[in-house]
């Protein structure tokens, strides 16, 4: 035990099992937060091994360091400025060439490196075997084969990473060389950078390559220190372009890839294999008929599962909690009791809504996500999403929205540009979350019929599509096309699924719970003080005249701002009866559910929007929700009067 504190970072492409490795290394000692000032998730944990404590940082899954995304920027800044003692580069054995492209960039950064050659079982199923010894010799860094999903090789990996971090391993890192024309210029520029002796944070060789590539961030930071290096780099880049007749960035990418390709060819042996089960499943999931059917069955199944399990668990839980106190909204009595009842109701709602409905939803969704099915769904629906200025990947946060809008809005980070994030978040606020589903079930399915409840869901999709198209014209900026790696299907890893479920549930607990509790108490308190009474009358032109609803719904909509499902729950004490059909017509039930479905996002969702996008977009989205709810609600009220 040296007492030295170690930091080890995990880096690599997306979907190569980095998270599984991270879970193995850190066990339950994890914290998930954001990178300072960036909307990128940062996962950190502690490894206790052989008397050492090491902080493990799970860097985002990326393919390159071109600052095409925030993830790439965060990763390279972390490596340069926080200088971990070692980096474990997790690479997928079945997609060696693509993964080595990233490895070669890490080698140019000159940081202590260990390669974790993961998923060798997947490679084997594709007929690929890899000579790790040879790979180790070529790259000059330790290569440790693992099957993380079954915990194979983890012990060796930890040992290897610690050895490298503690400098025990004999380092003879080979920077894999480029072609002559490029290499001589890189070396010259590296020399020029080193002679100026300024501390960039980045390795000189890596900075030299980035200067030649024309990386604006690196140029800026070098320029602030030495104009002469910039002046040296520009003619060099021009020379390379003249020699290769291609832009310098393309030359570097081409040469790196051809090295990666050469190394992959040298170390791997490919045998012919028959189409695997995964291949056949892939064919099915992207078929022009079965593909959409699969997508439909998966999403409908997910929702069905959520509400079947949720209903059962929720009943059980509220039964348990009702031993303590009634959680039904209480609107008369002493003020203290009412506030307490509001707060307690918030807790109960949180417990009976989040745990039974949302957790099973997230759990199954995470499993579907990890299996690779959602990638196929994104592939199949890209073209629909494109019409809303989004691309296929947006389908993932949108499905997430059916659980709760809050983590779904954070999930919009998978999109490339701010415009796409904003458009996706806008669409999500119209997706009926569990709380809104409870309204639809409690008002329409229970007192009208199930067909109308399902129709509301279908109409909602049409509305989302139509409003998405309108938003596309209003929101300035660019949209990017879909560029996504298609991973083979696999059996989901329990540890990854559990971690993902927890990460999403956590954002609910920390954001939604307090608002439920405090908001519930405040609104009920205000109501009992009679301060909210005038609202009913003030809103009556909208609620009564335009929407054709009873006067008391004005107050319900205020309650709904805090907790959507309060719209149904508070109806019981307000009406003094649980059989709504005695007081509300079928049209009124449907209109109320419809308006609640579209109506202004709950406070928790609004605060998530503010966090991700700022006040103005959050306000604009909320207004759009409110206006469309009132407008469409009124129209549907008129139409429904004709139908019933």
């Amino acid at each position: 035990m040296t007492g030295k504190h170690l930091t080890i970072a995990l880096a690599g492409n997306a979907n190569v099992g980095k998270s599984v490795i991270f879970n193995h290394l850190t066990g339950s000692h994890q914290t998930i937060g954001n990178w300072p000032g960036k909307t990128v998730e940062r996962a950190e944990g502690t490894l206790h091994f052989d008397g050492y404590d090491a902080t493990i940082v799970d860097l985002p899954g990326i393919y390159s360091f071109s600052t095409f995304s925030l993830e790439e920027l965060v990763t390279r800044e972390y490596i340069a400025h926080e200088k971990p003692n070692a980096i474990v580069n997790v690479i997928g054995a079945s997609v060696l060439e693509r993964n080595l492209y990233f490895t070669l960039q890490l080698l140019d950064m000159g940081i202590p490196l260990v390669i974790c050659l993961n998923q060798i079982d997947v490679a084997k199923s594709k007929g690929i075997t890899i000579d790790t010894q040879k790979l180790e010799t070529i790259l000059g860094v330790p290569v440790i084969p693992t099957v993380a999903s079954r915990g194979k090789g983890i012990h060796e990996l930890i040992q290897g990473a610690l050895d490298v971090a503690l400098d025990k391993h004999e380092t003879r890192q080979n920077t894999v060389k480029f072609g002559d024309a490029l290499e001589t210029r890189i070396e010259k520029l590296t020399g020029a950078i080193e002679s100026t002796q300024f501390n960039l944070g980045y390795a000189s060789r890596w900075a030299a390559i980035k200067l030649l590539e024309g990386d604006s961030e690196i140029k800026k930071s070098v320029r602030s220190k030495s104009e002469s290096v910039i002046q040296a780099s520009e003619p060099m880049a021009k020379e390379i372009e003249d020699i290769h007749k291609e832009s310098c960035f393309a030359v570097i990418a081409s040469e790196r890839y051809s090295r990666a390709s050469q190394i992959a060819a040298d170390v791997q042996r490919q045998e012919k294999v028959q189409a695997t089960f995964s291949d056949r499943l892939d064919w099915f999931a992207t078929h022009k008929v079965f593909g959409y059917l699969t997508a439909f069955v998966v999403i409908a199944g997910l929702l069905l599962w959520t509400f079947t399990v949720g209903n059962y668990l929720s009943g059980l839980l509220s039964h348990l909690l009702s031993f303590f106190e009634s959680s039904n909204p209480m609107l008369t009595g002493s003020i203290g009791a009412i506030i307490w009842n509001g707060a307690f109701g918030g807790i109960v709602a949180g417990v009976t809504l989040v745990i039974p409905f949302v957790v099973p939803f997230y759990f199954v969704l995470a499993a579907i996500e990890d299996s690779g099915i959602l990638t196929r769904v994104a592939f199949m629906f890209d073209n629909f999403m494109h019409r809303m200025g989004l691309h296929g990947k947006a389908i993932i946060p949108m499905i997430l929205g059916y659980g709760c809008n809050v983590p779904a809005i954070y999930g919009c980070r998978v999109m490339g540009t701010r415009r796409e994030k904003l458009l996706a978040a806008f669409a999500i606020t119209f997706i009926p979350c569990t709380a809104r589903t409870i309204i639809i079930l409690g008002l329409v399915a229970a007192f009208v019929n199930i067909q109308w409840a399902l129709a509301l869901y279908a109409i909602d999709l049409v509305i989302i599509f139509a409003l998405g198209r309108i938003a596309l014209r209003v929101v300035p900026g660019q949209s990017t096309g879909l560029i996504m790696e298609m991973h083979p299907f696999r059996v989901p890893y329990l540890s990854v699924v559990a971690k993902q479920t927890w990460a999403r549930t956590k954002s609910l607990i920390f954001m939604v719970f307090p608002i439920y509790v405090i908001g519930g108490a405040v609104v009920q308190g205000l109501y009992s003080l009679g301060w909210l009474g005038p609202i009913n009358n003030a809103l009556s032109p909208v609620t009564v005249t335009w929407l054709g609803l009873p006067l008391i719904t004005g107050i319900l909509l205020v309650f709904g701002l805090i907790r959507k499902e309060l719209i149904v729950l508070a109806l019981v004490p307000l009406l003094g009866a649980a059989n709504f059909s005695l007081f509300l017509t079928q049209t009124q039930l449907i209109v109320l559910a419809f308006v609640s479905m579209l109506y202004i996002p709950c406070v928790a969702t609004i605060s998530a929007l503010i966090k991700e996008f700022g006040w103005k977009p959050a306000a604009a989205i909320s207004m759009a929700n409110l206006v469309s709810a009132i407008l469409l609600g009124g129209i549907s009220a008129k139409l429904l009067t004709l139908a019933f």
Partner: protein, 248 residues
């Protein structure tokens, strides 16, 4: 080459879209010329090696004719973009205007127009794709950087390149040219689509959705709007055109 030759080739380019043969009557209708003159002109074009023409069996373009026709279509559609985007001329009028201007447009000016318009990919009136230029550039960025030097030094492509979104499942090709801004280009290069890389179409999503390609031992999905700007060399490339839906 005469103006009327260019007009004929351009008409054939549109009429033989997707590999069909064009009939004499269709050509006569499109160009508002008497069928007898069409027959005469086709004979001349056939003698010059631009078309395959057998009386009563319809016409197709030869590779030489196709290359020429593609170039004309490119100039025509670039001009339409210019008239519409820069001069604000209505969609219904750009076609006729462009028809009159295209014959006087030099290759150098067409390139300058393409750069100024930020390498557009579709024409404004019917959303048809603008064919890529035949200069030996592998990206628009490269063309941009080339500056004012003589285009003869760049060289020209021998075979036409085809858009990835026109390929069918299991077809193979080599990356030749990527159209678009440098951000998308860099991302594609980072994903391994460097010039000369072999790709195979693994799957095409229904309803003009994305294509899935096998490249560098892995699979990659590219949205239609990305794929249509990636051009590949295909062994025995044929006349291949597809109308892309117009996207807002």
């Amino acid at each position: 080459m005469s103006k009327s030759t260019e007009e004929y080739l351009e008409a054939l380019y549109t009429l033989t879209k997707g590999g069909e043969t064009a009939s004499t009557s269709a050509i006569s209708k499109r160009l508002s010329v008497a069928p007898a003159s069409v027959t005469e002109m086709l004979g001349k074009l056939s003698d010059d090696g631009y078309v395959n023409y057998q009386p009563y069996q319809g016409v197709t373009l030869t590779p030489k004719g196709f290359k020429m026709a593609e170039k004309m279509a490119r100039k025509h559609r670039l001009l339409e973009r210019f008239l519409h985007d820069m001069l604000g001329i209505g969609k219904d009028r750009v076609h006729a205007e462009a028809c009159a201007m295209e014959h006087a447009l030099s290759d150098e000016t067409a390139r300058a127009l393409c750069q100024t318009l930020k390498h557009p990919d579709t024409c404004p009136d019917d959303g048809n794709p603008i064919p890529p230029c035949d200069l030996r550039f592998s990206s628009c960025e490269e063309c941009q950087k080339w500056g004012g030097e003589s285009l003869e030094k760049v060289g020209r492509r021998e075979a036409s390149v085809v858009s990835m979104s026109t390929l069918k499942e299991r077809e193979e090709g080599k990356i030749a040219f990527i159209r678009g801004d440098s951000k998308v280009l860099r991302r594609l290069l980072d994903m391994g689509l460097t010039p000369g890389t072999k790709i195979r179409i693994a799957r095409i999503a229904p309803l003009q959705g994305p294509v899935e390609i096998a490249v560098r031992g892995s699979k990659l999905a590219l949205g239609e709007e990305v794929a249509c700007n990636v051009f590949v060399e295909v062994a025995g490339a044929q006349v291949r055109l597809k109308t892309r839906h117009v996207t807002p």
